[in-house]
């Protein structure tokens, strides 16, 4: 049995749900960022899987958009982790439940 497109999509859905689980259940800001990174990687896996199983256009579009998406995810990770450090300097905590100064 060779894996079909469905199998890859289900793995990607599993990874996305795991990332969502980390975002929704963790209270530590760094791990919310890790969850977002896992969700972005699941989206990239979808792009690559659809490129591999679909019709082949001359410039490999699925691979290209996955490359750009990885670059944007890297920029997002750098800014997000810098924000975690800045928040920690101001509030001396990284627990997102305690960052509630704007709550009305």
């Amino acid at each position: 049995m060779t894996p079909t497109l469905q199998v890859f999509l289900i793995i990607s859905a599993t990874l996305f749900s795991i990332g969502l689980l980390a975002v929704l259940s963790r209270r530590h800001a760094i791990f919310i960022l890790i969850g977002i990174e896992i969700m972005l990687a699941a989206a990239n896996l979808n792009f690559i899987a659809f490129w591999r199983f679909g019709p082949q256009p001359q410039p490999p579009t699925g691979v290209m958009i996955a490359l750009f998406s990885i670059a944007i995810a890297a920029a997002e990770a750098a800014v997000g982790l810098a924000m975690v450090i800045a928040v920690y300097r101001h509030y001396h905590t990284t627990n997102v439940d305690q960052l509630d100064q704007l709550r009305g």
Binding site: L21, V79, T94
Partner: protein, 160 residues
């Protein structure tokens, strides 16, 4: 596509991602995060996108995982462990997973095997990057520069 290698890789990836999402010890979770990205890169290799897999290894394990570990070290005094687990979030994640899986399995047109394709060489990717995708490439370069300068400004010490 080798199915035994595929099954092993898929189980390893999902297990490492689950460990990254649920482990209490922050350092262990960061290491599982790196392991999960090794697995995802291996899946890209199995799909025939070797260059993207290598880029993923370089960027995520070489840069992002190191950044995460340094951020954990810099915010170490706060908590060694992540306390509390939100069961509402877990149930939402399970519901999303059930919906996605159900809709994927219901769609008949997705049950297709892989066609034979020409090998994706780095030459082809480079040619596409330098012709069709040259403007997106420049925009991503500007975005990365701006993001890195912004990150530096965010973490710079404030002058008093």
């Amino acid at each position: 596509m080798n199915s035994a290698a595929f099954i092993v890789t898929a189980i390893f990836t999902v297990a490492a991602a689950l460990a990254a999402a649920t482990l209490r010890n922050l350092m262990h979770a960061a290491l599982s995060f790196a392991a999960a990205f090794v697995g995802i890169a291996a899946l890209f290799f199995l799909l025939g996108a070797e260059f993207v897999g290598l880029a993923l290894v370089f960027i995520y394990i070489g840069a992002v995982a190191v950044l995460v570990v340094f951020t954990i070290l810099l915010t170490r005094r706060d908590v060694g462990k992540d306390r509390g687990f939100n069961w509402g979030g877990a149930s939402v994640a399970v519901a999303v997973f059930a919906c996605l899986t159900w809709s994927i399995l219901k769609t008949q047109s997705l049950a297709i095997g892989a066609p034979h394709i020409a090998t994706l060489t780095v030459k082809r990717i480079g040619a596409a990057l330098m012709t069709t995708y040259v403007w997106p490439l420049q925009c991503v370069g500007i975005l990365l520069t701006a993001a890195l300068i912004g990150a530096l400004i965010l973490v710079m010490e404030e002058r008093r």
